[in-house]
């Protein structure tokens, strides 16, 4: 469960470039909620995710994960609660290391790292089975350097890494923005499968309204650092792209050119 209450974040405070990225924002996700986030550029979507992950510390307000106050906890310390997938496929993996080395690093997320040989008995077989499930032909490439894989393969591996050790919260920052449509679809389907299977509390930013509607049980729309619409699971079922567009026109100054209708 994720509780965010009244957080604000301002960048470059007191200068001409002052930017209010988040303004008195509150949001509660219940266990197993899969919430998609839409909004134009500069709406504060990424700042919201980065505040939860600890990359930014909000100026005020509180963030609770499973009742524990993590507002001021260092990024690497709260990582034990959080699985993350970044927009850039390069950011989620160590490119010069082997596929299975990346997986073993993720398998110990949030644990203290000791002076013992990283691979244990059965790890290779375990990883091979997991990769076979992705259906990307990776199960026989355990020793391949990640840098040699395609963007889609890397993103699928990052997703696997984020959920290898069950996180309390899964944060996905436009995980498919850099992928071709076919690969993007595969990664999204996989995300949906894993989220349901592990009953993960998930927050996913997307620029694609169709995806925002297709996936998850909740949807929030952001504009200028605020949540301007928060649809409950019941409301979301009835939601259409036209309704979302209308809502945008009502509240935002202009629709961002990066918002895609999908088809």
């Amino acid at each position: 469960m994720l509780q965010i209450s009244h957080i604000s974040k301002t960048f470059f405070k007191g200068t001409q470039n002052e930017k209010k990225a988040l303004i008195d924002l509150s949001l509660t996700l219940n266990d197993g909620d899969f919430c998609t986030v839409i909004g134009g550029n500069g709406a504060g979507k990424s700042t919201l995710l980065n505040s939860i992950s600890g990359a930014y510390i909000p100026d005020s307000g509180k963030i609770l994960i499973d009742g524990k106050d993590v507002t001021h906890m260092r990024e690497y310390k709260r990582a034990k609660y959080i699985g993350r997938v970044f927009q850039d496929p390069m950011k989620g993996t160590a490119s010069g290391m082997q596929l299975e080395e990346n997986l073993i690093l993720a398998a110990r997320r949030g644990e203290s790292r000791r002076l013992r040989w990283a691979f244990g008995k059965g790890d290779h077989e375990k990883f091979r089975d997991m990769l076979a499930r992705l259906d990307l032909g990776l199960e026989n490439r355990l020793e391949t350097r990640i840098g040699l894989l395609s963007g889609g393969q890397r993103q699928a591996v990052t997703l696997l890494m984020a959920t290898l050790k069950k996180p309390e919260i899964l944060l996905l920052d436009e995980p498919t923005a850099a992928l071709d449509p076919k690969t993007a679809e595969k990664v999204l389907k996989l995300t949906d499968e894993i989220v349901h299977e592990q009953h993960l509390t998930t927050l996913m930013i997307t620029h694609n309204m169709r995806d925002a509607l297709r996936f998850g049980n909740r949807l929030i729309m952001m504009n200028s650092g605020r949540i301007i619409a928060d649809y409950t699971p019941e409301e979301k079922k009835e939601l259409t792209i036209d309704m979302l567009l209308k809502k945008f026109e009502e509240t935002s100054d202009a629709i961002s050119d990066r918002l895609m209708l999908g088809n």
Partner: protein
């Protein structure tokens, strides 16, 4: 001729310990650490001073490595905690060490010609000649160190240090204190460099406050030559490439000296060698562009 070949390879093996240190900072951690030019003479200074105080030459080597640990930790803290750019952090430590090394030795140069060193001890211990000892000792040392490094970077902790070098953001997301990883990585790197300084001083028969000049380029030359010859691949192969590169570098130096290059031009030669190796990708690209037109 055979003796010359053996002693050239021996020199390569001995200096490969320094190259391993440079490899760890520049390649594994991706931190351009200049501390090397201070931690190398620091190792030599500590070892030489201790030996003149009748401390065992073996202990003196460990003490040299320990000096490197402190130097690397200082640079690591300057870089990660005080956010000083890596190059500058290393240069600051290196410059500070110049004075510190003078303080340790009490003068600019300490001779070890009339005392026992690890090399003379090896001669006595195994009843071998000077040349054989100068080869055996570095060879055994390098094998032990490479195995230790390979083991360490395959442990949970070591793997996190390697991954931090590739992707800091990812490692924070995996719950790893990346500042600590960089500091530990730098102290291991400089421990090797300090240890190498302690061995080289005993091999040369003296420690000199200026013995660190150009060591960073020697280390880089070895690392790059190894990469060019063997290609960049797994960590295990990279370690072997560093050793091979270091030996090859010494052979190249021996050949050009044999062909009559004045020894004073050695550093110029090394710098140009590294320059060419670093510029290789650019040169190749330009050549290909030229062909396309």
């Amino acid at each position: 001729m055979f003796d010359l070949a053996v002693s050239t390879i021996a020199q390569g093996l001995m200096w490969s310990i320094l190259s391993l240190g440079v490899f760890l900072s520049f390649r594994v951690l991706d931190v351009p650490d200049m501390t090397c030019e201070g931690s190398f003479p620091l190792g030599g200074a500590i070892a030489a001073t201790l030996i003149t105080m009748d401390v065992s030459p073996w202990t003196a080597i460990l003490a040299g490595a320990f000096g490197g640990i402190i130097a690397g930790t200082v640079t690591g803290i300057l870089y990660t905690k005080l956010k000083i750019p890596a190059i500058l952090a290393g240069i600051l430590t290196m410059i500070a060490l110049y004075s510190i090394n003078l303080h340790i030795m009490g003068k600019a140069n300490i001779s070890l010609l009339r005392t026992d060193t690890v090399f003379t001890l090896t001669q006595k211990l195994f009843g071998v000649g000077q040349g054989a000892a100068a080869f055996l000792l570095p060879a055994v040392l390098v094998i032990v160190l490479v195995l230790a490094i390979y083991w360490f970077f395959g442990t949970e902790l070591g793997m996190c240090i390697r991954a931090t070098g590739f992707n800091v953001q990812m490692m924070r997301a995996q719950g790893v204190n990346t500042d600590t990883m960089i500091i530990v990585g730098l102290f291991i790197s400089n421990a090797l460099i300090g240890l190498c300084g302690a061995v080289v001083a005993q091999n040369n028969g003296f420690a000199d406050v200026g013995m660190g000049i150009g060591t960073i380029v020697i280390g880089l030359a070895s690392v790059i030559i190894g990469e060019v010859i063997l290609g960049v691949s797994s960590f295990k192969e990279s370690l072997i490439a560093v050793i091979l590169g270091s030996v090859l570098y010494r052979i190249v130096i021996a050949v050009v000296l044999f062909m009559g290059m004045p020894p004073n031009d050695l550093k110029l030669f090394t710098a140009v060698l590294v320059m060419i190796a670093l510029a290789m990708p650019m040169i190749k690209e330009n050549l290909n562009l030229g062909k396309a037109e």
